[in-house]
Subunit: 220 residues, 2 copies
Amino acid sequence: MARTTGSDGEKTEAAIREAAVNLIARLGYEAMSMRQLAAEVGVQAAALYRYFPTKEDLLFTLMREHMEGLIGVWNAARPATADPAGRLAAYVENHIAFHIERRHATHVSNMELRSLSHDRLTRILRMRTAYEKELRAILRDGAEAGVFSVEDTGLTAMAVIQMMTGVIVWFRPGERLSISEVTATYLSMTMRLVGAEAHGASTTYSTVRGFGRAKDAVAL
Amino acid sequence: MARTTGSDGEKTEAAIREAAVNLIARLGYEAMSMRQLAAEVGVQAAALYRYFPTKEDLLFTLMREHMEGLIGVWNAARPATADPAGRLAAYVENHIAFHIERRHATHVSNMELRSLSHDRLTRILRMRTAYEKELRAILRDGAEAGVFSVEDTGLTAMAVIQMMTGVIVWFRPGERLSISEVTATYLSMTMRLVGAEAHGASTTYSTVRGFGRAKDAVAL
């Protein structure tokens, strides 16, 4: 049975995006040519330009969709609770789950910002700021409620995000630790980093999202 | 007065390295050509090849010297004390001080590993492992002495290093915080992350290296 043109088009576009993410992660954006990408996908270069009129359109699409995806899953995962420790646990769990499955896309999103035009860079940075602001709000609420110890909300948010995103540098599925073991350990480290343990919040956060404490979960 | 050939040569080589770090950080290694680099330095391309016979020789030299520099300053800064909190404080302080002054070189060292030959990649990774091993030893000693809470020494070492190196992404001199304020805040976060505060080590580490507590140092 013949497929509709629409679905073929969508498949081609998805194949282009996937190949582009892998090729840019391997070579770097500046070094990748649209000709190479077309060869990788198995289409003519002209076909590529139907979907992405310029190479930068392609890069921007990859970065925008990465951030839209991250903000989308967080909006879906954001807990109804007002409890800062529960919200922080949800943020950590969501952030690690999203990035650990998107190693190359994360690499591209973090490394190739230099190649976006000013306007598009501003749009991506606004999306990032909105996402980071959610974490800053959780940290501020926790500090104001006296359940977190945070010297500087902005620095702590950056530290927590960079520590978590760093997982993609070394984590490989099927090695020593599972995703849930890694997440549980990072959750414990984050809770201590924000001083939540010192305030007796540890029992709250460790049950809210169904995680056991890392000490129990990780086989050392 | 005429300079010796040697010192001119050294100056040229240093100029090449500095221009290369900045150019690779801006364009990516694959995208940078030796011709561009020569133009940036203001020499003929042939002159470049006298110092670095291949482009990869240049990249490897940049990465090797970056790691030798980091290990060198740590060897000089490593405290005589056996106290894990004091050693951890020294490691954090040294790591941030080194990287915050070498934003582009750090970026190149982290991002362009993919472009090294297998043997050279192995040599750089061995140097990194040796440096990270120092941190793992401090964490292990602290956990064994009962002054740190660490679920997984390897994961904690990666988390602490990535959190600290992440400073180069957002820190710019002359903005809201000074280097010593940033370092003090990261030191507090690291100490909490490894559970040192819960064991009463906070007064020790905050005086060992002459840092005040971040709460006092940072204007919020």
